[in-house]
Symmetry: C2
Subunit: 415 residues, 2 copies
């Protein structure tokens, strides 16, 4: 029976919808990866009685609670008080922690306002999770045989404390001594059901095998479908070896549908392939209006391989700037000329040309969602015709990632 | 004492963090605007006993519950069963609703699979909220003097049912006979604290006045800060008149910091100004890499006023394509030449040129966050120097919206 851990996110702004609570989802993902169940997640406002109520309800039905937010220095920050009340103890100020909070301010060249000392308070019997990114420390608060963790609401502070202290403590409590690691294979181009079908033989072989890796599909919209491998092993190096082995099995099945792992993005992968091949890229885009260029330049250091783009939105800009021949501009011929024109005008070794109909209405007799894409690597543009469902926004976004994927496959094939 | 209404979002994928629950935040915002309190919001998985538990906890402490998700046709969709159990009644199938669900499929040219008939089930004593956007109807389920609303988890279906049926029903239950309406003024360029200071005299005049409009600031990141006016009036036309009057008061204080209302975006407003003036736009962008073009072309019908863009990422593309003179490319002179070059090369009446340092490292001796922007309306480029804090992503996004705002102000001043 797995340990169960609820999440209580504290903040009136969350209830009012001024901020979307993304912390709970992030925590839920990490708990699942660590083999810990999370059956309920609650949002509650900055009201002590209601925070206590939420904690009591959660502790009555789960083994642990992660309480997120309300650890700052203001009057609104009352998570410590609420936890102390639930524990039935007083708050005490820790002088060493007062110094530690003051140190954080000193390192930023600022003096600590007096109210910040409050962040060094802890319920009697609780232990601190030292702060490494913000001013507020976290708390580990035993409540009978159960436990409440308090962490800041600022995402990067919360994430640090979760990974560093909370998840390891939960795993220890669960009696689990193994190391749990996961790796994500990033894919583009296949539906989740198709991916599942392709991976089915592997699923079948792993099923019921003790200690086998688990595989999960995470649909991630415009970021494609992520295939997550999770392994449990005696230590980190054994876990990494198991991940490597399973990645190899899945890649053998999925082939070039996998464009990267973990923090790779389609644009970072395209950039690396261009750098490796000693090539530079110029883009001519129309219906995407600059989206392709903007995604490519999200990659720091893109200037090593990205020359620029011509957004030829008006038809006569295609003719005048890119030498696209007269005739319909939503066509294979126009895409090919755009690719070659982009390479020539922008002084790039590779040209990418994209033209199509984003909607809301058809163009040149072509229905919304029709897209022509051309890649010109060695003076010979290769054109693909694509069709996307959906509204203007979806057509533009799907076009962008799909043409980058085509470019990736062209570069891979070129070797 | 305001009516209180909790939100219970149903779906294991929400707990696992595969999807972020944005529905609860959206509902929280709408409830607050209607004067209804929401003190707790809960996520729970597709497990009947736990959905019942979440509903019972919520009904014990609040007047109403909106239960979101789990109304589909699959085995996982068990919200109806859980509500019936909490009500202590059976489910009954409504044959008229079976026909209505089949009609939705027929309109889409598809036959209804048998399992969809389940969507016509309702707990005895509950009434349907007719579907207008999806296949599943919603439910209004009395539980003693309290009530549970069931709505689909698909955001646009949920939003439609909330606005059309749930919020009006809650307002009726609250005994409120007035009409509550709100309007958002979209702003860019000032911090929330500065906005609050400017609006302070108006706040002071409204304070304590019975029936006065309420004003709230909603920080919305790259979308700027929204100023929401909410009024309560005897009927819709009185509410609209009150909104008009208050909008006038706030605009008198805020001036051209307000760029639009409600569904306006910076790019739609720029587009309208260009169309009104009979002008077309060409853009030359560098650090933004295509973001400016991509935002402008989010607007359907942008082809009426957007000619295109040159993304001159490499310095020599600036020189070769746009005739930017030799010398540093992060400079006022380069921005001015880019604006004029964009207008000339793209055949536009207005040119916008943007060059700067997005990071992660400095360029031409200029620190990260330095941006030069030029607008060339009548052959004379006007240059602004801007400085943005933050990382690469923030510098690029802030640059984009800020230069569009400068273009807007230039067009407004030109009249």
């Amino acid at each position: 029976m797995a340990l169960s851990c609820e999440v209580v996110a504290v903040g009136t702004e969350l209830l009012l919808g001024q901020i979307v609570d993304t912390n709970s989802a992030w925590i839920g993902d990490r708990l699942a990866a660590a083999g810990i169940d999370s059956h309920f997640q609650t949002k509650v406002g900055d009201n002590q009685a209601r925070i206590e109520e939420a904690l009591r309800v959660a502790l009555a039905r789960s083994d642990a609670v992660i309480c997120c937010g309300g650890l700052g220095p203001t009057q609104d920050d009352i998570t410590r008080e609420a936890i102390a009340a639930v524990m039935g103890v007083a708050l005490e100020r820790d002088e060493a922690m007062v110094d530690a909070v003051a140190d954080v301010f000193a390192q930023r060249g600022r003096e600590m306002a007096a109210n910040n000392a409050k962040q060094a308070d802890r319920p009697v019997g609780a232990t601190f999770i030292p702060q490494t990114r913000g001013t507020a420390p976290g708390l580990i608060c035993p409540v009978g045989a159960k436990v409440v963790y308090a962490v800041p609401g600022v995402p990067h502070e919360m994430e640090d404390m979760l990974e560093r202290a909370v998840v390891p403590d939960l795993v220890r409590r669960s009696g689990e001594t193994a190391v749990i690691r996961s790796r994500v294979l990033r894919t583009w181009g296949l539906a989740e059901s198709t991916l599942a079908e392709i991976v089915a033989p592997r699923f079948d072989r792993l099923e019921g095998v003790a200690g086998a890796p688990t595989i999960a599909f995470l649909a991630s919209g415009m970021a494609g479908i992520k295939v997550r491998i999770t392994v449990k092993a005696a230590d980190a190096s054994a876990a990494d070896a198991a991940l490597d082995a399973e990645e190899k099995e899945l890649r053998a099945l999925l082939g070039d549908v996998v464009f990267g792992t973990d923090d790779d993005s389609m644009e970072s992968v395209v950039g690396s392939l261009l750098v490796d091949a000693g090539l530079t890229l110029g883009v001519a885009e129309s219906l995407t209006g600059g989206l392709i260029g903007s995604r490519l330049t999200e990659v720091a250091g893109a200037s090593r391989w990205f020359r620029g783009a011509v957004v030829s939105y008006a038809s006569d800009v295609k003719h005048a700037v890119l030498d696209v021949p007269d005739g319909p501009v939503v066509s294979a011929a126009a895409a090919a000329a755009m690719a070659s024109g982009a390479a020539r005008v922008l002084g790039a070794s590779v040209g990418l040309g994209v033209t199509g109909v984003a909607g809301p209405t058809e163009q040149d007799g072509m229905p919304v969602g029709t897209v022509f894409c051309a890649v010109d690597v060695d003076g010979t543009p290769v054109v693909s015709e694509l069709h996307f469902p959906g509204d203007r926004e979806r057509v533009r976004w799907y076009s962008t990632i799909t043409v980058l994927d085509l470019l990736r496959k062209t570069l891979l094939a070129r070797g």
